[in-house]
């Protein structure tokens, strides 16, 4: 009898228990990153900038070089590294509070300078680490600890769509929005991450993958319910798919 390996722990995922809640998207995204970095053979030339946020301990799991950023400043830190060492592949890992609230300016301007960096943007519609407060990405009507009556547009505005905003910035080359709430979407996310890294390897410009990621704990749902909520609710505001692809134009 031959035994075929159908699944194994990615080589770059450290043997350590995740601190993430059951059903949390961060752990899936970490796993995908490990797989992609390994498959693209990037370990020896990649640096990750993790944020304050639930993923602040990403360095406990990914066996690659990492340097922690201040809240929201990932794109500026990545800029500094990349300019000194253009051969290094530099990516930020950022939550939606990190990238689309406190770090909006850094992100937009790094993109506009056409920095050759990649943002892995984890959108879970809340501030996870600090206990489930409202984020710029919180859905209209969604209850959080700081929008206890549900987000109201006349007071708290609309869910901010960073991928769409960045798509009109000239320096962005590839932007895709994916999700990690089903095997099919997880596969697509993995592909999108490889594509975004390839854009950087080819020195084309700024790339970003926005990943809709369940936060069952702060959404007060079971993991299964949270996966369905991504499909039923989140994608209405944040449609999945390639939002910008200028790879061909940049290559010629």
């Amino acid at each position: 009898m031959t035994i075929k390996t159908v699944y194994k722990r990615p080589k770059l995922l450290k043997e350590r228990l995740f601190h993430y809640c059951p059903g949390c998207g961060h752990s899936v995204i970490h796993k995908l990153l490990c797989e992609v970095i390994d498959e693209m053979n990037l370990k020896e030339r990649i640096v990750c900038i993790p944020p304050p946020g639930c993923s602040v301990f990403a360095y406990n799991y990914l066996d690659i070089d990492m340097a922690e950023s201040a809240h929201g400043r990932g794109a500026a830190v990545a800029t500094g590294i990349k300019r000194v060492s253009p051969e290094t592949i530099v990516f930020t890992y950022q939550g939606d509070g990190d990238l689309s609230a406190i770090g909006t300016a850094e992100t937009i301007h790094a993109a506009n300078r056409e920095e050759k960096i990649t943002a892995i943007f984890v959108n879970n519609a809340v501030y996870g680490m600090t206990g489930g407060q409202m984020a710029p990405t919180t859905m209209i009507g969604q209850k959080t600890t700081t929008s206890p009556y549900g987000r109201e547009v006349n007071k708290e505005g609309y869910p901010l769509k960073m991928s769409e905003i960045l798509s009109v910035v000239e320096g962005t080359v590839y932007i895709e929005r994916t999700a990690v709430n089903s095997p099919k979407n997880i596969k697509k996310t993995k592909k999108a991450i490889s594509k975004a890294f390839q854009v950087q390897i080819d020195n084309l410009g700024f790339s970003m993958v926005e990943i809709l990621s369940p936060c069952p704990t702060n959404w007060k749902m079971s993991p299964i319910e949270s996966w369905h909520w991504v499909d039923k609710e989140m994608v209405k505001e944040f449609p999945l798919g390639v939002i910008k692809d200028r790879i061909k134009v940049k290559k010629c």
């Binding site: 990037l42 370990k43 020896e44 030339r45 990649i46 640096v47 900038i49 304050p52 602040v56 301990f57 360095y59 990914l62 066996d63 690659i64 070089d65 990492m66 340097a67 922690e68 950023s69 201040a70 400043r73 500026a76 830190v77 990545a78 800029t79 500094g80 590294i81 990349k82 300019r83 000194v84 060492s85 051969e87 290094t88 592949i89 300016a105 850094e106 937009i108 301007h109 300078r113």
Partner: protein
Amino acid sequence: MNKYLISGNSVIAEAAIRAGCQCYFGYPITPQNELTEYMALHLSRKEGCTFIQAESEISAINMVYGASIAGARAMTSSSSPGISLKQEGISYLAACELPAVIVNMMRGGPGLGSISASQSDYFQATRGGGHGDYRTIVLSPASGQELADLTQRAFDLADNYRTPVIILGDGMLGQMMEPVEFHKEAPENLSTKSWALKGAKDRPSKIIKTFTSNPNELEEINWRLFRKYRLIEREEVDYETYMVEDAELIVIAYGIAARIAKGAIKKARAHNLKVGMLRPITLWPFPFKKIQEISKRVQYFFVFEMNMGQMIEDVQLALEGNGEISFYGRPGGVIPTPSEVFRILSRQYYQKGLNR
């Protein structure tokens, strides 16, 4: 050796380039724009170097942080309000033990204040400035030549101790033109930095971080930092003394204020008043011991600052009640003249009966 006649801000920039500064990140603010502009002109096209006009001071300091992570000699400059915005980043640099040079050409405050020269940020610079228990080395130049020399020293100190170094100048030093020589040429190849992150090649992966959920681990980090700070306090104190040997009254002033005080002391000496000066060149570490030593012989001290009295607290700490201190300060960007300082000084001198 060639002498250059360029503005103080440009002197810092040129000295930085000669010290091997590879990256400069800045945001416009008066009175230090010539520094940023000099870098745009001379660093941006240099092989292997980077100049970015950042979108904010916050971004600029975080780009410095990134460049330092990658192992480069990196610098940013600003003036008071912009330096406030950089404090979070400086705290991270200190915590991660990364070298960086930060220039503050101080202006009058608080708030938007004025664009005129001031020394209002002494507390901020010498007490860490940002959140958390840390210190930065603070260098206080008082002439064009010292802008050059201390800038070059700043890069070496930052690398040697792996710590952010502040050059605390002011709007007047930045605008002044004095003939300057650059004593050191850029090192050929700055030794590769052991901490630099470029990917885990031929070694295990590395992490640069400060966050930990374990207070004991963080306590250990704080201890490590403070052992380093003790060493800096032992090794790096620097000051200038001027006519202290026979002095009955010692002026303590730094930076541009010391320059003004020197003029006042010359006048005092012309009137046979025995006045001398101690000028701290490092504001942190502060020359506590030197002041104590002087106080064994001298009873009267005159602190002069272009603020409401900030360094005076360090002088008080140094004297531990031995000796009398009087203070003269002009805040808000007002620049006193040597004659004015001489007037105040001589009044003190006569009131204390030092002429008898």
